[in-house]
């Protein structure tokens, strides 16, 4: 009992000191529980949508989508509907077709431009309404269902966004050119951001090129009939490759994709949450280590009057447990709050059915377990240390000096070496891509922990080196300037958001860029308003903090740089700061480590991103000769006549269509490889095959094949060998290996044939992309523009020139980097609190000294300056550690990822520079409040604090 009392008392005394620790746990646990809550809620939401859509369906006929090699996809003839309808056990059967791909049928707006959703695809279906009281399908909200070849329905969201009204004649862009339809009705379907275009079945079949075919038949059982009886009855009627499934199977089939995406999303969020939590381990450790060292005398006294080491240990662990529990509960609250806010935001966007926040028992249990475990584990070492404090420590004046534990060094070395060994072993490449990446991941975690244990050894010397006046001063100055500018921007932005949310500004029109429509912003309501106000106030507060801390950092930074040359007093502040951070290397190290992890990951991601960018642009410039690329916006196959029309354009030199499929080598149980097919013009500049050996002889005739280098090595193939390829039509061709392609950027592990041979065996495979070269003696832009104009005739076809492609890839990579780094931001926020925490505790620990310094003439400003320099040094140390490890892991990662994806290492120096500057910002900001508190201390009270 006494132990518990002690633990409680410890918390009460240290509440201020534990506050930031609780916050760190709260953030980590909040993110963990938030990930679960969001994925559970989204899962439930989509399950709801799907089961609503399938509510009136007892069974469904569909093509089997998992095909074995050579199996042809089944076709549902539309005569099947009548056959099923005729069954006694069936009350109703309705056929349904879907247009392949997205954006194939787009209404034209007033400017004759295709009108698309900004946040989703436009899908075309045959109409499937609530016929005969059958639930599910589209809800007719206005007008009537489409009937006849000139009639169409749109969903209400689309009609509202595009300004279409019932009775309008709308021109559509279709794969077959433009066509007019009359808008006869509007429907609703709970899929926000997605536009629907609905025709009657017959029209849809014609438009979608599916005459006489159906994609699905929805079946309603006759009253009193079991669905299983319906399945039994329908089964015998089905052609090959077609199946019938019941409602439950239909639901899970329909939600499978959603659920997969949701679970991926959930796992990604969870991974980042765990990273944040991992970072908070170091902060918790640091806090308890400091608390124990501050209480050495008290603990010594307790030991002297008879407390056992075990009792002391338990009291610290119980204290940690209580703190962990507090943080976990608050974290679950935070998780619910964030998830609720996100969902409220979805709802206020409209279109989503009402969502409920799903807080499962699992979420609560995992969150609490994770939070508690993290806290207890981190407090373990300090607790054991506390248990070993001897009674004499109570009498000693100067707190015992932290001896460099030999155990720590040994453990640190072993763990680091293990981590690096895992990375090295991974790089040896014997474990496949996934295995390698897993080894790298485990290696990284071990290395982080090992370096954290060891960094105490060199934190002192490192800070003594890093804490030089000039670098620190320059960093401080830059940070000051950035904070000043950022502060002004944030305050302005925050205030604008608040004014906007208050509705005082009414509507704001943002002129559209590049001829896009103007965007009109109206004052938000409901959750949007709350969020805007929250964000606005958050920005404002942050801005004020920036504005308070920036100017002083700037002034002191400038002074320090100046004093470095003239020998003024600011150098002394840096000295004092340096000594302070070098004095408790373990604390400096733990703080720096927390920052190190976040920044190592940011660096890693940036190195990978930059390397990916470099590799892609190398591929584009070296391996790809094409100047123009044609593909489907959503990966759809291309119209058959596009290549012909393209080659008809003036200035187009060479055009090649690309198709792909599987081939089998070695009979029914043989291995499956990819086969890539081009127009095998041997001199093609479209793709650089990089022939290592052989030639193109015979490829164009369909008697020979090119084999990629890795595949050739794999199968021991050489030029002149013969190989039997079995195509998907189950026909086998005996082909000669004409050449071996060394450039595997696109063609890794595959056979390359000519289109002629390919089409013969895969008549149904569409064109995936088209490459074209532009003649040297014509104007590039003119030809490129002409090609793009050609694509306007086809919905969903895009033409990109080399530059566009590069730009598109870069935008994609940048967006990905922003996303990942944004998620890693949480780990950085946690680490930031760690720095604040350390500074707060370090100030508390040095209260007496601070009083003394003030007594002998240190001004408040100078005191704040020393504390700021200290924070900057600690951050800089952590940042450099992080960057170093990040580059190391980045290089390892590039090596581990197949060359066909990333082939060369490229270090993003600019990003690294920005990260270093961020270290300055973090230091300045983290120091501000603790420094201000320290400066307010009365010197006499401070001196008396011993």
């Amino acid at each position: 009992m006494t132990i518990i009392k002690l633990a409680f008392r410890g918390i009460k005394v240290g509440l201020g000191r534990l506050g930031l620790t609780v916050l760190a746990i709260t953030l980590g646990v909040g993110f963990v529980s938030g990930s679960f809550i969001i994925s559970d809620s989204l899962g439930k939401l989509f399950d709801g949508i799907v089961s609503e859509a399938n509510a009136g369906l007892d069974a469904r006929v569909q093509a089997i989508d998992e095909l074995s090699f050579g199996q042809q996809p089944g076709v549902i003839p539309d005569t099947l509907v009548d056959e099923i309808q005729a069954l006694n056990r069936v009350a109703d059967a309705e056929g349904f077709v879907v247009a392949e791909g997205a954006n194939r049928f787009l209404p034209l707006d007033a400017d004759d431009e295709p009108f698309t959703s900004t946040s989703g695809p436009t899908l075309a279906f045959s109409y499937q309404g609530e016929v005969d009281g059958r639930e599910g399908g589209f809800e007719q909200v206005e007008g009537v269902a489409p009937t006849g070849p000139g009639s169409v329905n749109l969903n209400i969201e689309q009609a509202e966004d595009g300004g279409f009204a019932i009775g309008d004649t709308i021109t559509f862009q279709t794969p077959e050119g433009r066509r007019d339809f009359e808008l006869d009705g509007l429907v609703d379907f709970p899929a926000p951001g997605v536009y629907f275009v609905l025709f009657d079945l017959e029209t849809a079949q014609e438009l979608f090129d599916k005459a006489g075919q159906l994609d699905e038949i929805a079946i309603q059982a006759a009253p009193g009939t079991l669905p299983s009886d319906v399945l039994d009855a329908v089964e015998p009627l089905l052609p090959d490759g077609v199946e019938v499934i019941d409602q439950a199977a239909a639901n899970s089939a329909d939600s499978e994709d959603f659920n997969q995406i949701i679970s991926i999303l959930g796992n990604i969020l969870l991974a980042f949450a765990l990273i944040a939590l991992f970072v908070s381990l170091f902060i918790i450790y640091n806090t308890f280590a400091i608390l124990v060292s501050q209480r050495i005398q008290e603990i010594g006294l307790l030991r002297a009057i008879g407390a056992t080491g075990a009792q002391i240990r338990s009291s610290i662990l119980i204290e940690a447990g209580l703190v962990g529990a507090l943080g976990s509960v608050a974290g679950i609250g935070a998780g619910i709050g964030v998830a609720a806010l996100i969902e409220a935001l979805f709802e206020s966007q409209g279109g989503f059915p009402e969502t409920t926040t799903v807080i499962s028992l699992r979420t609560v249990l995992i969150a609490i377990a994770v939070g508690l475990l993290a806290t207890m584990v981190s407090a373990l070492i300090p607790a054991f240390k506390a248990g070993r404090i001897s009674p004499v420590e109570a009498i000693r004046q100067e707190g015992s000096h932290p001896h460099r534990g030999r155990g720590r060094i040994i453990a640190g070395s072993i763990i680091t070496v293990t981590g690096l060994a895992a990375v090295g072993f991974g790089l040896s490449g014997s474990s496949g891509v996934t295995g390698t990446l897993a080894l790298l991941g485990i290696g990284a975690v071990f290395t982080f922990v090992g370096v954290a244990l060891l960094s105490g050894l060199f934190a002192g010397p490192a800070v003594m080196i890093l804490g030089r006046s000039i670098p620190v001063g320059v960093l401080g100055t830059i940070s000051g300037v950035l904070l000043l500018i950022g502060g002004l921007a944030l305050v302005f932005g925050g205030l604008s958001a608040l004014v906007f949310a208050s509705g005082a500004t009414g509507e704001i029109t943002i002129p559209g860029q590049n001829g896009a429509d103007d965007q009109v912003l109206t004052a938000p309501t409901g959750a949007g308003k709350v969020l805007t106000i929250l964000l606005g106030s958050g920005f404002g507060v942050l801005g004020v903090l920036f504005l308070f801390s920036g100017p002083r950092a700037l002034a002191d930074g400038v002074r320090l740089v100046r004093d470095s040359f003239t020998g003024g007093s600011e150098r002394k502040m840096v000295r004092i700061a340096r000594e302070n951070s070098a004095r408790s290397p373990q604390r400096t190290a733990a703080t720096a480590t927390a920052l190190m992890i976040g920044l190592a990951l940011v660096t890693l991601v940036s190195v990978l991103g930059e390397s990916l960018r470099a590799s892609l642009s190398q591929v584009l410039s070296e391996s790809v000769g094409a100047d123009l690329f044609v593909n489907g916006e959503f990966g759809e196959v291309l119209p058959d006549d596009f290549a012909i029309r393209l080659s008809g354009l003036e200035g187009i030199d060479d055009v090649s269509e690309y198709r792909s499929a599987d081939v089998r080598v070695g009979g029914p149980n043989g291995e499956i490889y990819g086969v890539d097919s081009f127009t095998a013009s041997t001199e093609s500049r479209i793709i650089d095959y990089g022939l290592d050996a052989g030639s193109f002889d015979g490829v164009a005739d369909g008697t020979a094949v090119i084999v990629s280098r890795s595949l050739a090595d794999d199968r021991g193939l050489d030029v002149g060998d013969r190989i039997a390829l079995e195509f998907e039509d189950l026909e086998t061709e005996d082909l000669e290996v004409a050449g071996i392609a060394g450039n595997e950027n696109f063609l890794e592990g595959s056979f390359i044939t000519d289109n002629g041979l390919f089409i013969e065996h895969n008549p149904d495979r569409g064109i995936e992309s088209i490459g074209a070269t532009i003649a040297d003696d014509v104007d590039f832009e003119t030809v490129s523009d002409a090609a793009k104009a050609l694509a306007d005739d086809y919905a969903g076809v895009q033409v990109l020139n080399n530059e566009d492609l590069q730009e598109q890839l870069e935008t994609g990579i940048s967006a990905l980097l922003v996303l990942i780094n944004g998620l890693l931001g949480l780990a950085l926020v946690v680490a930031f609190f760690g720095v604040v925490n350390t500074i707060v505790l370090s100030v508390l620990e040095r209260t007496h000294e601070i009083g003394l310094l003030r007594a002998v003439g240190m001004t408040r400003q100078q005191l704040m300056s020393t504390i700021r320099w200290e924070a900057i040094m600690v951050s800089l140390f952590g940042t450099l550690l992080g960057i170093t490890l990040g580059i190391l892991f980045g290089i390892a990662g590039v090596r581990a990822i197949p060359d066909s994806v990333i082939s060369e290492v490229s270090i993003p120096w600019l990003t690294l520079l920005i990260i270093v500057i961020m270290a300055g910002l973090i230091g300045v900001l983290a120091a501000y409040l603790p420094a201000r508190r320290a400066a307010k201390l009365n010197p006499l009270d401070a001196i008396a604090s011993l």
């Binding site: 100067e398 002074r559 004093d563 020998g567 003024g568 007093s569 600011e570 002394k572 004092i576 000594e579 302070n580 070098a582 004095r583 007496h848 000294e849 003394l852 310094l853 003030r854 007594a855 002998v856 003439g857 240190m858 001004t859 408040r860 400003q861 100078q862 010197p939 006499l940 001196i943 011993l946």
Partner: protein, 283 residues
């Protein structure tokens, strides 16, 4: 550029000379001894306070630590302050050193009136015109003895006068210990470093609150001898709180404090004289 060599703004007002003191003595009953009344005109006051009171707390918990004290400390003299525990000695030191402020009354260090100064001005004043030696833990543990000594100068961005430094260091007898950290020095050595630091900026006045209170008598003697030399050889003004008549006998003058008032004083004290007076006061 505020921490360049400071010239603290002060009131132009009174010259801390005799006129001021005369003025004070007339308005400062009921304290019998008129400080410095028998000193020659040539001696000014390094610091003084007039009708100074310090009141802690309020209402029921009110403590009047100093009660209408008027006292001056002559330039180039060594003054001791004695009195029972709780009599207000530390309070007087701290308020006169600009570490705290009187509730009522005025304080001057040199020609500068302290009560009107803001924190920053007080800090700059402490840095350049005042030295302070606490009973213990005077040094910054991360700095060497030398760095501790030059700390006030470093904070001001001033460079130490090499000759003066050498002289101080030689006097304090720590030349071979300069690069040691405080935890490598004995308590007595640490206090000597603290006195050297107080001397380093050649302040107008040095205050010591029981500077020998925490060290053995041999080390105490060394410190006292050192302070005595600082007064004799460098014309330094020192004011020291002590409990020990032997220590007090090193000074030129002893002031006795009781219940927040100055109740007596001895000039050129001897050990026995101080003893007598203490016994007498105890009655």
């Amino acid at each position: 550029m505020t921490d360049a060599a400071p010239t603290p703004p002060g009131s132009p007002d009174p010259s801390p000379g005799w006129e001021a003191l005369d003025d004070m003595t007339t308005t400062a009953p009921p304290v019998p001894p008129t400080p410095g009344s028998d000193l020659s005109d040539t001696i000014g006051l390094a610091a003084y306070c007039r009708n100074a009171s310090k009141i802690y707390g309020q209402g029921d918990t009110e403590v009047r630590a100093l009660d209408d004290v008027t006292v001056g400390f002559e330039t180039g003299r060594f003054t001791s302050i004695m009195g029972p525990s709780g009599s207000g000695k530390s309070t007087l030191m701290q308020c006169m050193a600009g570490l705290d402020t009187f509730t009522l009354g005025q304080t001057y260090v040199g020609s500068i009136e302290l009560s009107s100064l803001k924190d920053k001005e007080l800090t700059l004043l402490r840095r350049s015109k005042i030295g302070f030696v606490f009973q213990a833990f005077n040094l910054i543990p991360t700095m060497s003895a030398e760095e501790n000594i030059t700390l006030p100068l470093d904070l001001a961005g001033a460079t130490a006068d090499k000759q003066w430094m050498d002289q101080v260091v030689a006097t304090v007898g720590l030349a071979d210990r300069l690069h040691h950290r405080p935890n490598e020095l004995s308590g007595g050595q640490q206090q000597r470093v603290a006195v050297a630091r107080a001397l380093a900026s050649r302040p107008d006045i040095i205050f010591g609150d029981e500077p020998t209170g925490n060290v053995d008598s041999k080390a105490g003697t060394e410190i006292l001898q050192f302070m005595r030399r600082a007064v004799d050889e460098f014309h330094q003004t020192i004011v020291m709180v002590t409990h020990d008549p032997v220590s007090a006998s090193y000074s030129d003058r002893v002031l006795f404090l009781a219940d927040g008032r100055i109740v007596d004083e001895i000039r050129n004290p001897t050990e026995d004289g101080v003893f007598d007076k203490m016994r007498h006061l105890g009655d």
